[in-house]
Symmetry: D3
Subunit: 245 residues, 6 copies
């Protein structure tokens, strides 16, 4: 990860149902993200899905609704392999995030694994806890201005670009898979900041074609599809096929 | 319905989450079916989805897990526009099904609408209760032998073909979208039985292309896509696009 | 019960939430009924409410969705003080109901109390199991014709009139609190059948004034209010008071 | 709103069940408030109710448990028409609240509507997002001292009086519908502060008669009834009617 | 199984929570039984636990609340390795049970695996469906009288003794781990009937010592502990240790 | 409490199911703690258990996931007798905790009891609200250094030692029931700080024998068993008994 052309491929989960999640997660993603911010997962739904998707592959990341240590701790206790935290705008916020994710002396995560200790990944739990991923989302002008410093915060393992919010911050309409030069330039700057700090860089994409372009741009992990987008697309396509017959 | 070339297009719901159901149900189906037999819906999940999908369109059918009057009543009380009952093998079973679905004097459904009475379909509740659909599934050899009599049972509004179980009954491997002459002949016989009794006929299909063929064969309602199939298909396609890049 | 002018006062629960149920159940009912037929309770919601309302008063009855022994057993295991079963139309159905409710030798209820054994009613569990109530609903023409025989079935402790379904059966529009002579005469006949068999008789009423009349008519237990009716009534009254100001 | 005698009439929801909520919400309120602070709604229950009450009328406000951006975002994503935040004691807290509610450039709300984008209000989603209400609760001495400044914070659309907490702050016993001159004077001062800043002012009331008085006092929105109060009141009245005969 | 001294060791689950179930199920049982009859599992809770305990070991049996094909089908669809059905009193009931559990031509189970098809047991799904266990509970006098015929029903793979209900049927007080000669003789007769038909025989026991005796008696599978018993035992022991200190 | 040799005995709940909680809580604890930090309880599960365990004994404490006033308020509204807050590292954090727990003038808790007002403890609600317990967890080096000042914060009623996190902070491996002199010395120092401020002191222990030692050391409340530990222990013991036979 972080070199070569083979970016990690991530699937995005917004539907809070472990059966739906198993169906979408199994076909071979490197990781899936349980979205507790803009997805419909609450704490309990996320834990049920973490329990149902307990095999070693794919890795299971959780995007948390905000940078709140209590919620982050519960996701890690339940076996999340990593945390994606939105709206990390400063070194202080990135430090708080890292503190919440790592045990002492690296951080101040409270000890009490539940499902994490039961999980069969081939690693004893404490080694597994040493392999988590901590992604700071860069999605505001403030964050963009501080991106080098945020990237350098110990315990942060990567930067994660939120294209909709970053577009809003740049005065553009929200939405994924941007074509504006201004946005692409920003992506390149964020990748550079990550590289300079020896960290990874990731981005949310809506479609595989764009995700491939972003992998080519240098992102180490790209999201290539979302369950909540797949469902209406499939329904629309089937209805069109029927109506047009 | 029942004449002309424009069969009703039905979408199939197996994922017990109202957000996922709203995403899949909105693009323009004539009806959707909440599958409480082989889908993951229990009673409470089906009621939540009936509450969330309360507009007049699409119509919402419920496939019940078995021909049990208590469960059927709760779905109708919660506003289901129709019932699809599996494994209806005899006139007695079809009569029990019809009795459970219609109020006196047509049947013996118990009165006590809950969400049904709150729903805004443009019809007062008691008129809405006079428009429900009652589908008897024909999916065993016993049922196939008795299909003419089952079709004639008052209060049954249509026959619904279950291709996997019918294939199993014929000694074939289970699965939808059959090509065997024996199966197609059976379909035609079931359609004829429905026609003779002045009833509709429907079938579950997995793909739009096959659903179009079945509409051409004479089915009045065809299922053209299923949420639980759409999710792994979308994930597989995205991953393939990424890996093949 | 069964003599004197003081009929038992029962409250009716349709809202599947233990907080709402506690609010409605506390003010002093002799019993409350958790309605799993036309109310929104599924099995799990009924159990949660039985757990939350675990004191000795009021007694907690459960109306089951149908005369199915598995569901009846779970409600009794969870501490229900009695069962109200809909649509009991024959001696055979009444016998099946009674068998499901009583332990051997009186019946064939399976042993395995859960919450029932934990409940603090002042009685040891097995004595409590000897005080349950078993109500057979009389609400069809068939049941009405067989009411004397149904009342005589051992293990049935009372007859319960369902006015809406009985009205439908008589060719009338459904609804509670009937004024038709034909209906009142039917009530009197049902009360007489209960008396002749040494059993109690109960009826669902929507309003206290009508419930008082029914108590005067001879019913031993009358329902006087329903949570699902109270809510829109309170909202309507408040809005009217505000609009009319 | 904000002028004339016709204050907006708001209903209050504490019971976390979408059926109960639909029953209470339908009779004609201008808005209803889903109370996630002192009501029994958690995140998931609030989302279910927002999904079930998806028509344009009444407007659906959410009182959040605290001024936490993650929770606020999820309620807006799920289609809340407005947020009522408790214990807003300073310009900084009011600013944080407003930031969490509005998209850039007005605030820093993160983009990712779920149910909000599916809702049929007649408005495209982004216009709907421009019509939300942001209410800051004034209910401590600190807030009362800073009320003019809080009212002036851009993005705050109104002040909302919490009478119980304000009474506690003034050394009085808690409870709604206050008669003390000191309280009424405080209300008038808060209304004046709102007026001076061109904002609305609202108050929680327990009974319609008092709500009418408050509308007369100048409040733009008044709460006139609460589901959790209606239930025991209805039960108590029915039991009294029965016992007193 | 069925010969030798090494009976299968089964653990019993009554607590409807997948975390609790994982904790109790992992230490090395041959199988665990999810008790939907006297345990607190409803359909949805059983499915969640089947999803969470998806590895090949231990096998997961489900005791259903009654011999109802709809519920049985949903448990098998969700990946249950076997069904234990209570109160099987006749060849007709045993035949109905077997029909519900096996696909055509052996039975009439409806095809539509959900979690079962996703499960990683090393076997393709259709082979897994050929290895299920179908246990008929013998727990009434009627069943005991018909035990040889019930054992001989094709598709029934074993007889399962319910000691509490059988004791009740014999006029004894309910409870597990019986010492009466009459009961032990009955157990031997049931084991003989199973042997004669080439089937297995199992029994519920409350304590390991008694389970060992029953294994010695000839039972092929014995239950040795129950989660709902373990919890109060552990609490009682800890409190006693503290109070006696 | 706080003098004599009879420390309070506390049981620990991690399994989010009210039936399991009732089984474990009934045998005679002085108090039980619902663990929302490292246990599997989310807000809704904690409320359900508080509703189910509503008798006066045992007292019910809630360990919250973090020092967040909104969550604390909901637990107190639902009838918690006390709050245990993790990671209280400073006077400011302890003050925030106390403010969230007490009504004015002692703090700024918002008024709106729900289940708390319905509970039958023999005390009117407002008196009950004056008897709550507020425990600050001491489990970092920072907290340890500030322990005397934290203990002195008004409204904090006790210090609660988290041994795993404190061990991590001291560079040791995590886990309960420590033997290191360094840890025991720290415990004595924390007890002294509590004593000096006139406050209580408590500790989490995994086994009764160690809990007795800690009571002897001077702790006023000791945890002696945990449900999530009891389950695998019981299963392991039963399996071993069977395998070793």
């Amino acid at each position: 990860m972080g070199s070569g052309t083979a970016a990690r491929i991530n699937g995005w989960l917004m539907i809070p149902d472990p059966f739906a999640n198993a169906l979408f997660a199994r076909p071979g993603w490197d990781s899936v993200t349980i979205d507790c911010q803009h997805g419909m997962f609450d704490e309990s739904a996320a834990v049920h899905t973490l329990h149902a998707l307990q095999s070693a592959k794919p890795r299971r990341l959780v995007r948390v609704p905000s940078n709140e240590p209590g919620f982050i701790g519960k996701m890690l206790d339940a076996g999340a392999d990593g945390i994606i935290a939105p709206m990390i705008n400063s070194v202080a916020e990135a430090t708080s995030l890292a503190q919440a994710c790592w045990y002492s002396p690296k951080g101040s995560r409270s000890f009490g694994p539940t499902l994490a200790a039961l999980r069969s990944t081939g690693l004893p739990y404490e080694e597994a806890a040493a392999t988590i991923e901590v992604w700071a989302m860069i999605e505001t002008r403030t964050a963009f201005a501080a991106v080098a410093d945020i990237a350098a915060v110990p315990g942060i393992t990567g930067l994660f670009v939120g294209p909709s919010d970053l577009a809003l911050a740049f005065g553009l309409r929200p939405g994924p898979d941007r074509e504006e030069t201004e946005m692409i330039d920003a992506y390149l700057a964020i990748i550079s900041a990550a590289r300079a700090a020896g960290k990874d860089c990731a981005i949310y994409c809506a479609r595989p074609a764009y995700a491939l372009r972003m992998a080519g741009l240098g992102f180490d992990m790209v999201t290539a599809a979302t369950d909540a987008t797949a469902l209406p697309a499939a329904a629309t396509a089937a209805i069109a096929a029927m109506r047009e017959g």
